[in-house]
């Protein structure tokens, strides 16, 4: 086998596995490195489903373009549009493929894929397999990769920790260094190309809806050697999670997609059991405030409303703890079991209450990071991506690629539900031919021509870090430091952000980072030492945490998941039609002004101690930005003004072109 | 589990296990059912029993090969493979106290009891080998090989006089019947006859009924051996032979 073509992939979630199988099909062997058995990757947690425009929605006027548009609008225009467009147009094909691979999607009676509705759209686009879609998708890919493994195309390195990319003198990535978590041995993996598919970084916030593997360490290790990090401040907080002491378990959006209703008693902390509170004394605040989307407003909005209801309006259903009701009890049991069985079991299992009988108590939790490693793309003439172009998904380091949740380009300021599984599989499949081209162009030189001394040096540098840590006796407890970091980040950088809090959080994180450098390892063994592995991951959380805080601090606006009340765009207050019209004009002026300043990707680069922040233009060539007006008072008139302006602009462009 | 022997087992594991399963029903299980039914006819008197035994022994010189081919060898096969199977598992009923797990463990225990029982029992009544030398010098001096097909009821009743035998037979019957009835149930799963959990529950019930009936039959036979008076039976048998002679 052409070993000089070997590709190293870090991470075997949906993204890593789909890239692996695609590369194998192209005849390129893969070394797959993962913290855990790839079948246990975080992607198994995804519950709700995966989006695509489909035959049923098409008849209602849906199209790939509309899926594209919803995604961009939902993400507040912060995405690079060509990749998003390509993804939306691939979506039906991705689902067809997963269907062929045997994913047990729910079916209509006739045997077609069943669909449900998800947040941020008016169409039933979401294909699902019960309430465990991520699990089914991941397993299908895992099975394909196992098939390639038996044919010798894939070598799996499970229970290995990626410690960093290896760069040659020209700054090209020529492979990776990783550590066996059982034997603690450190090895280099020379590679013609390296793909990072390491998922999200929820652990930086202490507790989140993510798996414990989502510590962001892999991304941070690339960031620290020069990879750019895009849009760090955009962290999605999911509106509905089950508060828990070790984890905040997700209650999928599909609960609302299937008709779940969010409410609180109108009387604060009404002591009656929820079922005894009459309809008239319940406040269905999402339905009332967003009649069109109801309970399925985009996540950022639902999250802020729930947060607001509890924190500012004091309507939390419990005294000491924040929560609202998510109610499914009006739906027949049998239907719930068929469509939502998995997630309802989770609630029942961990809370000991049957959500088919009692409304669930839920509260927002950190859920997804829209930001991630900056990656490039090659735009095609039709506004999508140029297939097979080696620039696609490539970081600013040649030979280093990023796909899946850990890249930054598909979800902008806010991810729509059921779009992430899509972006992971899509980017994994799409990157295959791009890497193939890259290897062809570079002739696999990275592997053949790199002197082994380079890899030896990389290994010994990591060896030294490992040993220094084992010998460190600074007295700090890494587990407690992690808790503190989580608390700081959750308070300052989630639902609502204030500049003064962000400043003090940055100082606190700086202090924690220095203390983490003095962590004491209570296990000094050289066999399956989880203590030292955790400490390393902890230390590597700080650069990303700092990028999140600084990115948030510098972005003085509200966009998607990033919300600073100080800079919120106001509702219209004038009642007189003319004054209201004028107010709307001003609103639009301010909106345009704001876009000129902030409709930019935040780019963080690590300077050794802190992130440097700069901004890059966003490709909005396909869908011009428009105000995101869910539920705003005066939305109609603003929309009208905006449409007129757009029309005028088009006319100008047209006449200028003549 | 090493050595050439077991590796032969391992190589043909599927076939051997299927044959083992089958042998439990046919011929071993089937034999036992018929055997217990025949034995239970003793309750109707020595004459009825003797007539049935006669029917079997009418095979004459074919009896020996038939006995070996359809009874002894299958039982030995089933027993040897059974022991190998028992050794390949490790019961954990004390840790996992589920009914099915208890049944699994009992299936193994009763298998072991069955070996001891059947081998002793056959020695006791049949004598294992019908070679003159063996019977005279080994079996009979030990109080074994008690049964005479031409004096079926009386020798049987006589052989069962010792106080030790009835409880021994009771345990043997219980074990064999449980083993057979539960074996039927597991067999239905092994061969895919009852598939769904509900189907398996219904099958449990059916097998339990079979087991209870069969136990009743076995118990009848055992009771019959105790209530039959050997002297009286001998009289009946003698009269039967006389009349038979007269027929000729």
């Amino acid at each position: 086998m052409a070993d000089n073509q070997r590709v190293v992939i870090i991470g075997g979630g949906l993204a890593g596995l789909s890239a692996t199988m695609k590369l194998c099909e192209l005849g390129i062997p893969v070394d797959l490195i993962s913290l855990t058995q790839v079948k246990r990757s975080h992607s198994v947690c995804a519950q709700g489903g995966i989006n695509s425009c489909n035959e049923q929605t098409r008849q209602l006027g849906d199209s790939e373009w509309k899926h594209f548009d919803d995604t961009v609008y939902g993400g507040d225009f912060l995405q690079q549009q060509p990749p998003v467009k390509e993804m939306a147009y691939w979506a039906p094909k991705v689902i067809d493929l997963m269907d062929r691979l045997g994913v047990t999607f729910n079916r209509t009676f006739e045997g077609y894929l069943d669909r449900r509705r998800f947040g941020g759209t008016l169409y039933k686009r979401t294909a699902f397999a019960g309430a465990t879609t991520g699990q089914q998708l991941l397993y299908a890919l895992d099975e394909q990769v196992r098939r390639w493994e038996t044919q010798g195309m894939v070598r799996k390195f499970e229970f290995w920790d990626f410690l960093g990319p290896v760069l040659d003198e020209e700054g090209r990535c020529v492979g990776a260094v990783a550590q066996d978590l059982v034997t603690m041995e450190i090895h280099a993996f020379p590679a013609a190309a390296t793909i990072v598919a390491s998922g999200g970084c929820g652990l930086i916030f202490g507790k989140s809806t993510m798996s414990v593997f989502c510590n962001g360490s892999a991304v941070s290790r690339c960031f620290q050697v020069g990879a750019k990090y895009g849009n760090p401040e955009f962290i999605q907080v999911h509106p509905t999670a089950i508060p828990g002491s070790d984890k905040l378990r997700l209650m999928s959006e599909s609960a609302r997609g299937e008709g779940g209703r969010v409410w609180v008693p109108r009387t604060p902390q009404d002591p009656r059991p929820p079922k005894q509170i009459p309809e008239s004394e319940r406040y269905y605040f999402l339905e009332e405030r967003y009649p069109q989307y109801g309970n399925l407003v985009p996540r950022d909005i639902a999250t802020r409303e729930i947060f607001n209801i509890c924190v500012n309006e004091g309507l939390s259903v419990e005294k000491g703890r924040m929560a609202v009701y998510l109610d499914l009890t009006h739906i027949p049991r049998e239907e719930l079991d068929r469509k939502l069985g998995g997630i309802l079991e989770i609630y029942e299992k961990f809370q000991g209450v049957d959500p088919r009988e009692q409304p669930m108590k839920i509260f927002p939790a950190v859920h997804y990071s829209m930001g991630g490693l900056w990656v490039d793309f090659a735009k095609s003439s039709d506004g999508g991506l140029q297939a097979g172009d080696p620039a696609n998904q490539r970081t600013n380091i040649e030979g280093l690629y990023a796909i899946g949740e850990c890249d930054y380009q598909y979800h902008g300021a806010n991810r729509l539900g059921a779009n992430s599984l899509l972006s992971c599989i899509f980017s994994g499949l799409f990157v295959g031919p791009c890497i193939q081209t890259y290897i062809k162009q570079s002739g696999g030189a990275a592997v053949t021509r790199t002197p082994s001394t380079l890899f030896d040096a990389a290994v010994s540098a990591q060896q030294k870090r490992h040993e220094d840590l084992l010998n460190c006796r600074g007295g700090e407890n890494p587990y407690l430091l992690h808790q503190e970091l989580g608390d700081v980040m959750t308070r300052a950088a989630t639902v609502v952000r204030h500049n003064d809090q962000l400043d003090s959080a940055y100082a606190k994180v700086e202090e924690l980072q220095q203390r983490a450098a003095r962590a004491s390892i209570s296990d000094t063994g050289s066999w399956t030492n989880q203590n030292v592995v955790f400490t390393k991951a902890l230390q590597d959380m700080f650069p990303v945490a700092k990028a999140i805080l600084r990115g948030a601090r510098l972005r003085d606006e509200c966009r998607g998941a990033h919300y600073k009340p100080e800079f919120a765009m106001p509702s219209l207050t004038e009642t007189d039609p003319e004054a209201r019209r004028r107010e709307a004009e001003q609103w639009c002026d301010r909106f345009e002004e704001n876009n000129r300043r902030y409709l930019k990707s935040t780019i963080a680069r690590w300077n050794g101690t802190d992130p440097d922040i700069s901004y890059e233009d966003v490709d909005t060539s396909l869908i011009p930005p428009r105000p995101r007006l869910y539920g705003l008072v005066g939305a109609e008139i603003i929309e009208q003004v905006w449409r007129e302006r757009q029309a005028k602009r088009k006319e100008q462009v047209a006449t200028a072109g003549q | 589990m090493n050595g050439p022997n077991s590796s032969f087992f391992l190589r043909h594991e599927f076939l051997i296990r299927r044959l083992h399963s089958l042998s439990g029903l046919i011929p071993v299980g089937a034999y036992m059912v018929v055997h217990l039914l025949v034995n239970s006819t003793l309750i109707n008197g020595a004459g009825a029993f003797q007539t049935n035994v006669h029917k079997i022994h009418a095979l004459g010189k074919f009896l020996l090969p038939v006995e070996w081919a359809f009874i002894f060898l299958p039982i030995i096969f089933h027993a040897v493979v059974g022991v190998w199977i028992i050794r390949s598992g490790q019961s954990n009923h004390s840790q996992y106290r589920f009914t099915a797990n208890w049944r699994y463990t009992l299936q193994r225990w009763t298998g072991v009891i069955a070996i001891v029982f059947i081998f002793t029992h056959v020695f006791h009544l049949h004598g294992w080998f019908h070679a003159q030398w063996w019977l005279e010098n080994v079996a009979q001096p030990l109080g074994m090989a008690q049964f005479r097909p031409y004096n079926a009821a009386s020798t049987l009743a006589q052989g069962m006089q010792n106080y030790g035998w009835p409880p021994f037979y009771l345990v043997g019957i219980l074990a064999c019947v449980y083993h057979f009835a539960n074996g039927l149930w597991t067999m239905g799963i092994t061969w895919g006859l009852w598939v769904s959990p509900a189907g398996q529950r219904r099958a449990t019930l059916a097998c339990a009924v079979v087991g209870l009936l069969l136990f009743g039959v076995g118990l009848t036979a055992l009771v019959a051996t105790q209530v039959t008076d050997p002297e009286e039976a001998r009289g009946v048998e003698d009269r039967m032979y006389e009349s038979e002679d007269g027929d000729r």
């Binding site: 067809d96 062929r100 961990f350 | 996992y96």
Partner: protein, 287 residues
């Protein structure tokens, strides 16, 4: 005020401390030993949070400094299978094992042990590679031609999907095999001078002699009922009738009783049993 009452978590009868007994082992082939820990009780605690506290404390109940207990976890919501261990004598996921219900089983202490049928790597971490090897042996995948676009997959009606979906939820946690009396531990020691590949090959050869276990059998049923997966059904049944195949099952049915995903394993075993028999008869006649 003696035993805690888990039915009412807010009841004051709760202990303030939880005693935990952990069976530890420093590495493969090393002796195992018990160690006692004590952590503060909190409401809604699960075994993961107990282990997290133990890791943060890093000392036993007698104040002896010890290395944190090694264990695996991932999703913390019982979908990844990582955190499987034997808790109070029963194999299950530690993330969904709630302390209140464990204390109801045994009020004095919680007992944690590694899985029994897999070689211990360290403490509560075991090597479950055999389980994944079985999936390879049984070709548990749909053999598609290409990952290119060829339109939708075969139509599958709802009842069929409802049969298949439960089987596709198996998270390879290994509970069903750990509790199975017919599934025996296979543990090899690495020989001095043996390379990774050699050791790996020797392990796989040993795995091939052992029972495949309930979960992989169930996967065969899943893939053999998929319209495309069927195309290599014979190969799967071949594998299922080799050494360590379905015949090893002795119908103890612990598998189905401990499976956290309620997978109808015994139904799968019955279906696979029938298919395997028919298949081997067919093979015999055709050979």
């Amino acid at each position: 005020m003696s035993a805690p009452t888990p039915a009412n978590p807010s009841s004051p009868a709760h202990p303030t401390k939880v005693n935990v007994r952990v069976l530890r082992q420093d590495g493969p082939g090393q002796p195992a030993y018990w160690e006692r820990h004590q952590v503060d009780y909190e409401e809604n605690m699960n075994v993961i949070s107990v282990l997290q506290k133990i890791a943060a404390q890093a000392q036993t109940v007698d104040g002896k400094k010890v290395a944190p207990v090694a264990w695996e976890c991932g999703c913390l919501e019982e979908v990844c299978g990582s955190c499987t261990m034997v808790i109070n004598g029963r194999v299950r996921q530690s993330c969904s094992a709630l302390v209140d219900s464990l204390l109801a089983e045994n009020a004095t202490e919680i007992e944690l042990r590694p899985m029994e049928k897999y070689p211990v790597i360290r403490d509560l971490v075991v090597d479950r590679s055999r389980l994944f090897h079985a999936l390879k042996r049984l070709q548990a995948w749909v053999p598609v031609d290409t990952y290119g676009h060829l339109g939708p997959g075969p139509r599958i009606n709802r009842p069929q999907q409802e049969e298949m979906y439960p089987l596709s939820k198996c998270m390879s946690c290994g509970c069903c095999m750990d509790a199975c009396p017919q599934y025996q531990k296979i543990e090899l020691q690495r020989r001095p001078g043996e390379s990774d590949e050699q050791y790996q090959r020797r392990k796989e050869a040993a795995y091939e002699q052992g029972f495949v276990g309930a979960a992989p059998i169930s996967q065969v049923v899943l893939f053999n009922s998929h319209p495309t997966g069927k195309s290599i059904a014979d190969g799967r049944l071949d594998a299922l009738t080799e050494t360590g195949g379905i015949q090893v099952c002795g119908n103890a049915q612990n598998c189905v009783a401990v499976c956290p995903k309620d997978i109808p394993l015994t139904k799968s075993i019955a279906r696979a049993g029938r298919a395997a028999t028919l298949h081997s008869i067919k093979r015999f006649l055709e050979k």
